[in-house]
């Protein structure tokens, strides 16, 4: 793997209207610390990833359309490597190098 053990490289995808919050770009490849906080030995989870995305990637001030009460806003589906995050422990899932994580909003009109 290209990234050092200190860092994780993951593919993050936004859909269902969420891409509007992230510079209208659907797919992002991001590198983030493998531990959160980076000096600790605590593995980075989806919860950490979401905060990282808000702080580092989101250009839109409407953070609460993505995160509510420190986790992914209800109504947004999360797929980890194409599987429902509920199968993986939801936001406690420890992010692995090379993971593909998709956030889909169901909140937009049909």
């Amino acid at each position: 793997m290209s990234s050092s053990p200190e860092n994780l490289t993951v593919k993050v995808e936004f859909s269902g209207g969420l891409e509007l919050l992230f510079s209208n770009k659907r797919t992002h490849t991001i590198t983030l610390p493998a531990h959160t906080p980076s000096t600790s030995t605590t593995p980075t989870t989806i919860r950490d990833l979401v905060i990282y995305l808000c702080d580092e990637l989101m250009r839109d001030p409407r953070r609460d359309l993505f995160v509510l009460d420190g986790t992914v806003r209800p109504g947004i589906l999360v797929l980890i490597n194409d599987a429902d995050w509920e199968l993986e422990g939801e936001d406690a899932y420890e992010v692995k190098n090379g993971d593909s994580i998709l956030f889909v909003s169901t909140l937009h009109g049909g």
């Binding site: 269902g16 209800p74 429902d84």
Partner: protein
């Protein structure tokens, strides 16, 4: 950690957790279960009749895209023998509807379905962009909602179609149930929870055989029991292309509190959504004004089908109701309570006393101390008679339907000509006209 196997086939790795029972399924099993449940909804409610021509209200969004795809699949698999066509309404919102209509066109080609696009401009002489230019961004959703409701019926009538299906899902229904509950509007529950509503032929239906009549169009929601989550996952895993963006005029609409409440509940207890839908159905049965007692599960006669709302709110369901419609709703509610008395649905208990005289016990709402609990006067209201709008012929309880009333207001204030400084115009019109002149005599909404 080895991936969890599918609860049904036990072979493939699970990819989806179903909200209704938290079972973990693989993609093929999920597709099958999802489609089969919709098939069950359709057959158990006798929703379709062989030979029927059915218009799918298509917006290009996830719900109508999945609806079109699933209905095509089921029609072929189970041989319903229905003809499916797509009907889209173009509100005339640049940068919003333009793009989603492209999605609908693509779907039409992909599914081999005939597509009709009907515009507000064509129907009412106004695009939503022009309406907003005139009325501003407050209350514009009311116009859009009223216009859209009629537009689908008019479109269906134009196509000679008697049945329109829409993509309303379980989350939508649960949201509406909660909103009616929070508004204290139980009589409406029957119509919002029923799988079938109709724009009934008016009492004075002059031409019941007129194929172009838009007063007898059946509306149904085959996805009524389908979770929004599953609809999105179905679209995603089936690689269906749908369009998702918020209407540019109601960026806040999707943050409606009822919606947020539903989604929060789902996170804690996923079955809550269907439970709310079922509770809504059960409450509807008990409500005065309930037109039917089965949630649409029985009875195919028109009389057993609840009436469609004339004035359903705009998108996002939470906004777009103005004070006028609240009043009309209140009147309607009172009228329905009257009707309930006649039907001896609670409200009043009549029994014969020993001396043969009739005694009545009125059930009163419990008085709340110190509060004018009965301050809403239960005045006698003339029974609601559904007639036709004298202007356009659309079903209406008023002389002039809501759309025509709104249009009248719009047309009255439509600036005839920007250049001419209106001598009888309102002060702000002067300002606007002058501003128009300053901008180089732009010719306005033409």
């Amino acid at each position: 950690m080895a991936p969890k196997p599918c609860a049904l086939c036990t072979v493939n790795p699970a990819a989806i957790v179903r909200p209704k029972d938290r079972s973990a399924l693989c993609k093929p099993c999920f597709f099958n279960v999802f489609e089969t449940e919709i098939h069950h909804t359709i057959t158990s409610t006798n929703l379709f009749a062989r030979g029927e021509r059915i218009a799918i209200g298509a917006s290009g969004g996830k719900d109508s895209t999945v609806l079109a795809s699933v209905l095509k699949t089921l029609n072929e698999r189970y041989d319903y023998g229905v003809e499916l066509i797509l009907l889209s309404i173009d509100e005339g919102i640049k940068g919003y509807r333009d793009d989603s209509l492209e999605t609908v066109k693509r779907n039409a080609k992909e599914y081999g379905m005939e597509l009709t696009i009907l515009g507000y401009k064509e129907l009412y002489g106004w695009t939503m962009d022009q309406v907003v230019e005139q009325v501003g961004k407050k209350g514009n959703c009311t116009y859009c909602g009223v216009f859209r409701r009629q537009a689908l019926d008019r479109g269906a009538a134009k196509l000679g179609v008697k049945h329109v299906v829409t993509g309303h899902n379980a989350d939508d229904v649960a949201e509406t149930v909660l909103m009616n509950l929070l508004r204290g509007d139980l009589p409406r529950l029957s119509r919002t929870t029923s799988i079938v509503t109709s724009t009934p032929s008016s009492v004075a239906s002059s031409s019941p055989t007129d194929p172009a009549s838009h007063t007898n169009i059946k509306r149904s929601k085959p996805l009524k029991y389908a979770y929004e989550k599953e609809i999105v996952l179905y679209a995603l895993h089936k690689n269906l292309t749908y369009f998702s963006t918020e209407c540019i005029y109601s960026p806040e609409a999707f943050r409606g509190s009822a919606r947020a409440l539903i989604k929060n509940l789902e996170r804690v207890r996923p079955s809550a959504i269907l439970d709310v839908v079922r509770s809504g159905e059960d409450m509807a049965k008990l409500c005065p004004g309930s037109d039917e007692g089965c949630g649409g599960a029985c009875g195919s006669s028109t009389s057993a089908i609840p009436m469609a709302e004339e004035e359903e709110g705009g998108c996002g369901s939470s906004n777009g109701r103005n004070a006028g419609s609240e009043m009309a709703n209140m009147d309607r509610q009172l009228a329905q309570n009257e009707a309930a008395v006649e039907n001896e649905l609670e409200v009043e208990i009549t029994f014969h006393g020993r001396d043969g005289t009739q005694q009545k016990i009125k059930k009163q709402p419990k008085k709340i101390k110190g509060q004018a609990a009965a301050s809403v006067p239960r005045k006698a209201v003339t029974k609601q008679v559904m007639g036709k709008c004298k202007k356009c012929g659309y079903l209406s309880s008023q002389e002039v339907c809501k759309a025509c009333t709104l249009l009248e207001g719009l047309n009255k204030n439509r600036p005839k000509n920007h250049i001419e400084v209106g001598y009888d115009a309102e002060p702000e019109n002067h300002v606007r006209d002058l501003a128009g002149q300053v901008k180089g005599l732009e010719v306005g909404s033409g």
